[in-house]
């Protein structure tokens, strides 16, 4: 089976293979990590779709190729003669054999006998012999601990550039990552216009602890900083998304509209169900899944906002692939996608949002969880913002900001007359691409959204 | 001569009443012969005799003071006193010019002082003070004062004999008539460097005078029990074509006459000399040594021939007024006291000295 470069986002056209977890001849199970891909949006681990043996690697670590390029071939039991279990052992055995025949022996070189004799007493030869023995021993270890073998210069370079050793393919003995490997990796990144790597964005991955003394570690490189200033290196995701944002800002005619919505009914549902929900699900029920549900509902009526702009046409989607912007501990933003959100109820949306956020923070998002949202929610509400004007991410045509919800005095109309009540209120702000729709259309969408938020019997949506 | 006979002769020598070797002497100057005591203005003269007396006292009192300071725990480490051997240092020093070179051993306090190094510099060095002649970097065994011609005290037995050859070679090459005096103990005569240096100096006819201070003990062991000949230095002179010369090392005048003759020959380009001066160490080898290996009564016999005592008696018999001698004694005592106070008042050397003066650029760097 061919392994292809996945499309990790609708705007992504290419990706860089940064690491192969398997070598040719290794057995691999379905869903076991096979390689790492890095794009302008994300660095992620790609699992193997099938069980089998890695038969061919067509794109080496460090290479950047177009989406859809064949990266490797995994031979499965059905298309290989050798059994998957036997193949890797055979491959290792032949590798060992090759290594041994490459070592000159006294028997093969009788004229060097005396020298070989002297060698056996010389320490450097002992060291080399020990290294060979180690190599053989480790080649039979299913999980060579590559971290343990990082040399000082490699540790320093990893720390300085915020890299993760597992993201770099090692060309040294037993796959050890050498200095040249790191430098080649950095050179490739530089060629991509990326000076800093993604390790900072992958906050759930254990970082390489800086082995440097205080004052020499990453983050304190003060080149270019004046006294009292501090240099913060931009990570890969921020650099790339920043470039995309700048392009969008230049190209898209942005219009912002906002409505104030009364969250009383959602709040009522949350208050009533929170304890049971937490006990059952293990996490807090936030406003976001309710809003996501409301957005899906509203988009089914105002579907031109659930669309992409393609030259002179607007391609409207019947399905809502809802992007939820997730903050990575202030180290970047990632937008996992809820596929077919229109088919999910509030509880399902809540679970999916939770799962995607966790995956995003641990770099475990699958390609299709990142690709091609049709509409995006940016949720700054947890920080109590009043209003946010988000930037549209083309080819999408709109984006909604859900801002902070707080209790405010609200005039409540009733048959008995008006009264003032304290109600949880928040702003819902949508930015849209004026090339795609007009203000009235967007305003109608917001009105519908507000209506759903304020009037739906949300308490019935949660069991 | 068997060992027993040798020991007997040594014992006789230690009593040292008659110059028994005089008759077999083939050298320029024999053991001191009795001289007429009527005239103070003989070949040495009044002025030099008073300088000699003063110098003998300086050496004696400074060494005694060093011992006192050791008892007060102000002198640290080891120190090798030459109490009783002052006449050798004084007699040779008085025969030297200011630009001549002295090389001596770890028992070198007296030789360094005799060339003119300040008492406070010597005592200060023993006490590890900044005012010491090497500011505390050398210590008791490495007293050096180049400006006074004291070219170093050498603590590895025998090492300085070849070095003295080099200084003499240098004088010879440069065409000066400087001489080099090289002092060492009887124990040195059994080490290789002694023989290498003697041969080397003789072959190159170097202006160097080797002086063996035979105080009868190498460290703790009597030299006679470990040496093939009776006189460890003099009996070997013939091997290097040199005269066999023995002098009473406790008679400063005799030492001075012997030294002067040897220096004159050396300055005249007639080559080296090897002189064995018979003397006795009143104290042990070093401050750690109570010298209990010495036969009972031996020290008492030698104290009768204390070089200071016999020199004072000689001056009195030559008609020097007692009051003058007393004044010199008082003055020397005062100067030693002043030097002691100066050394005590001197601070310990600064720690910056540790990384100073390994190289001629003043530093200690071994890398860039």
């Amino acid at each position: 089976m061919d392994i292809l470069m996945p499309q990790l986002g609708e705007t992504v056209t290419e990706g860089t293979v940064t690491n192969w977890y398997k070598q040719i001849g290794d057995a691999v199970r379905a869903d076991e990590a096979l390689f790492d891909v890095e794009t302008d949006k994300v660095a992620t681990e790609i699992p193997c779709p099938v069980s089998g043996v890695l038969a061919e690697v067509l794109v080496q670590a460090g290479q950047t190729v177009k989406v859809g390029t064949r990266l490797a071939v995994v031979s499965t039991a059905s298309d290989a003669n050798a059994s998957p279990a036997a193949a890797p052992e055979a491959a290792r055995a032949s590798a060992r054999e090759a290594a041994h025949t490459a070592t000159p022996s006294v028997a093969e070189h009788p004229e060097r006998g005396a020298q070989a004799f002297a060698h056996s007493r010389a320490h450097e030869q002992d060291a080399a012999a020990r290294a060979d023995a180690r190599a053989v021993a480790q080649s039979t270890d299913a999980r060579p601990d590559r971290e343990r073998k990082l040399s000082p210069v490699v540790r320093r370079l990893l720390a300085e550039h915020g890299l993760d050793a597992t993201a770099i393919r090692g060309s040294g003995r037993d796959g050890r990552v050498t200095r040249d490997d790191v430098q080649a990796h950095l050179a490739r990144q530089e060629a991509l216009g990326v000076m800093e790597a993604t390790a900072n964005a992958r906050s759930a991955v254990p970082q390489v602890t800086s082995p440097l003394p205080p004052g020499e570690g990453p983050g304190v490189r003060e080149a270019g900083a004046k006294p009292g200033e501090r240099v913060v290196a931009l990570n890969n995701i921020r650099r790339r998304s920043g470039a995309a944002m700048a392009r969008a800002w230049q190209v898209v005619p942005h219009v912002l509209q906002a409505v104030e919505a009364d969250y009383s009914r959602i709040e009522q549902a949350r208050r009533a169900k929170q304890a049971a929900w937490q006990a059952r699900e293990g996490f807090e029920l936030t406003y976001l899944p309710f809003l996501a549900f409301a957005v899906c509902q509203a988009l089914t009526r105002y579907d031109q906002l659930n669309a992409r702009l393609d030259a002179d046409t607007l391609i409207v989607s019947r399905r809502v692939h809802l992007g939820i912007a997730v903050d990575l501990n202030h180290d970047g933003l990632i937008v996992p996608v809820i596929r077919d959100a229109q088919d999910r109820n509030v509880a399902a949306l809540a679970r999916e949002i939770r799962r995607l956020a966790l995956s995003a923070r641990s770099s475990k998002l699958k390609p299709d969880e990142l690709s091609q949202p049709t509409y995006t929610i940016s949720n700054s509400g947890v920080f109590g913002t009043l209003i946010t004007a988000p930037i549209v991410n083309p080819p999408q045509v709109a984006i909604l900001s859900t801002d902070g919800v707080s209790k405010r005095p609200v005039v409540v109309e009733s048959p008995e007359g008006d009264s003032i009540a304290a109600r949880p209120v928040g702003v819902l702000a949508q930015t849209f691409d004026h090339r795609a729709v007009d203000g009235a259309y967007s305003a109608a969408f917001l009105k519908e959204l507000k209506r759903i938020v304020e009037t739906r019997a949300w308490i019935e949506d949660i069991v | 001569m068997n060992l027993r006979e040798r020991r007997k002769r040594r014992d006789a020598a230690s009593a040292y009443s008659t110059p028994q070797e005089a008759t077999e002497n083939d050298s320029m100057t024999a053991l001191d012969q009795p001289r007429p005591l009527s005239a103070a203005d003989d070949d040495i003269g009044r002025e030099k005799r008073l300088r000699m007396f003063r110098l003998l006292l300086e050496l004696r009192l400074t060494e005694k003071r060093a011992y006192d300071l050791f008892l007060q725990n102000l002198v640290k480490g080891t120190s090798h006193l030459s109490l009783g051997q002052e006449a050798v240092a004084a007699g040779f020093a008085l025969g030297m010019r200011r630009d001549d070179y002295t090389f001596c051993t770890y028992r070198g306090h007296a030789h360094t002082l005799a060339r003119g190094a300040p008492m406070s510099g010597v005592l200060g060095e023993l006490m590890g003070r900044e005012c010491g002649v090497t500011a505390g970097k050398g210590g008791s065994m490495h007293l050096t004062s180049v400006e006074h011609g004291a070219m170093g005290s050498y603590a590895i037995v025998g090492a300085h004999l070849p070095v003295a050859c080099g200084a003499a070679w240098s004088a010879q090459y440069r065409g000066t008539d400087q001489v080099t005096a090289c002092f060492f103990g009887d124990g040195t005569t059994n080490i290789g460097a002694f023989h290498e240096a003697l041969n080397f100096a003789a072959v190159w006819k170097l202006p160097v005078v080797f002086v063996c201070e035979n105080n009868l003990y190498m460290e703790y062991t009597p030299i006679g029990t470990v040496t093939a000949v009776e006189h460890p230095a003099a009996d070997r002179a013939a091997a290097y074509g040199l005269a066999r010369t023995i002098v009473d090392g406790n008679d400063a005048d005799a030492v001075f006459r012997t030294a002067s003759a040897a220096f004159a020959r050396a300055r005249a380009g007639q080559g080296p000399a090897l002189i064995e001066a018979m003397t006795y160490r009143h104290s042990g080898h070093s401050r750690a040594d109570p010298a209990q290996y010495r036969p009972k009564g031996e020290l008492d016999e030698w104290l009768k021939r204390d070089p200071i005592k016999i020199y004072r008696e000689r001056l009195v018999s030559l008609g020097f007024p007692e009051v003058d001698l007393g004044a010199i004694e008082a003055d020397t005592e005062r100067r030693v006291n002043e030097a002691t106070e100066a050394a005590k008042a001197s601070p310990p050397p600064p720690l910056t000295l540790i990384e100073k003066d390994l190289w001629a650029d003043g530093g200690v760097a071994w890398r860039n």
């Binding site: - | 070179y101 070095v163 003295a164 050859c165 070679w169 001629a360």
Partner: protein, 325 residues
């Protein structure tokens, strides 16, 4: 530019300095009328006469002691110890006296002297006439230590040693005496404590000294052509002072260090270099530092045994190849 043998360059260096400075005198065994047992001092006796070029008895202590005494009293002597193994009989003079005198006397005495000696193996002389003892000298504070590998270097480093105000030991290599090389015409003076990068490279640094330098260069050429490994070869030339800057800069570039040492393993000069690089260049290292040395044994005499004992081109190539990963 003239082509001289290493031994001719030694004599040329001494002659240059004796002609320049009347204070320079030269002493040693068989150095004068005989021209030296290695013929490295031919012509000096005839040119400068017996007053300045002096044959000595077989008395190493006297030779070194005399040089010391002369140096402290105004001369600039050059003393020859025929074989560096004989340092054993005058080590007190070198290690206890010469090395320490300036320090012990608080700078009162300077010793501007040179001790030249024939060092190293390759002549099948056995264990007492073949040693590489530059690491002995390096271990004593107060001695400068150089070991030139080419005719041009030996001439100009001897000149630098003679002009240096401190004691300098010049280790000439017996097996290099016959080697020819270009030596610049006229007066040449080098600088003590400067290493030379003789062959630039990027994959590893090979630090070598004396006879090991041409072997390291040949190994580097083979490693490049046969294995595609690019080696930077550094001729240290001087152990004290030690040019650590050149060394550390090279390791910063290559990330790997090999030393090729003729001295026996324990406490060889490479151990100090490895220690410095491990301490100060640690974060530039991509592999353990590897020392290629003579085993820790006395030297055997038979050519077959001796050749297999001293680091050879084959051994350097093989060791580097096996440990580059």
């Amino acid at each position: 530019m003239a082509e001289l043998t290493y031994r001719e360059a030694v004599a040329a260096g001494i002659a240059q300095e004796m002609a320049r400075d009347e204070r320079v005198v030269f002493l040693g065994e068989d150095i004068g009328a005989a021209g030296g047992v290695f013929k490295a001092t031919v012509g000096l006796f005839e040119r400068f006469g017996p007053r300045r070029v002096r044959d000595t008895p077989i008395s190493e202590q006297a030779i070194i002691g005399a040089a010391m005494g002369a140096a402290m009293t105004g001369l600039r002597p050059i003393a020859e110890i025929m074989f560096s193994d004989f340092f054993g009989v005058c080590w007190d003079m070198i290690a206890n006296e010469i090395a320490k005198t300036r320090y012990m006397t608080n700078g009162q005495i300077s010793l501007p002297l040179v001790i030249r000696t024939a060092n190293g193996a390759g002549s099948r002389f056995g264990a007492q006439h073949s040693q590489s003892v530059e690491n002995w000298a390096m271990a004593i504070p107060g001695l400068k230590v150089v070991a030139p590998s080419t005719p041009a270097d030996v001439k100009a480093l001897i000149a630098a040693a003679v002009r240096d105000p401190d004691p300098v030991i010049v280790f000439e290599h017996k097996s290099l005496y016959a080697v020819k090389g270009e030596v610049p015409d006229g007066e040449t003076v080098d600088t003590l404590g400067s290493a030379k990068v003789l062959h630039p490279g990027k994959d590893c640094t090979i630090a070598a000294l004396a006879l090991m330098v041409p072997r390291a260069l040949e190994a580097a050429a083979r490693l490049q052509s046969e294995h595609g490994i690019s080696c930077e070869v550094i001729d240290l030339r001087s152990l004290v002072p030690l040019d650590t800057r050149t060394l550390l800069a090279s390791v910063e570039k290559t990330a790997r260090l090999y030393t090729v040492e003729e001295n026996p393993r324990l406490c060889g000069w490479g151990a100090e270099i490895a220690s410095i690089v491990a301490e100060e260049g640690f974060w530039n290292l991509d592999a353990p530092i590897c020392r290629i040395t003579t085993p820790h044994i006395p030297l055997p005499a038979a050519d077959r045994l001796e050749d297999a004992t001293i680091p050879s081109v084959d051994r350097i190539v093989e060791t580097v190849r096996r440990t580059m990963d």
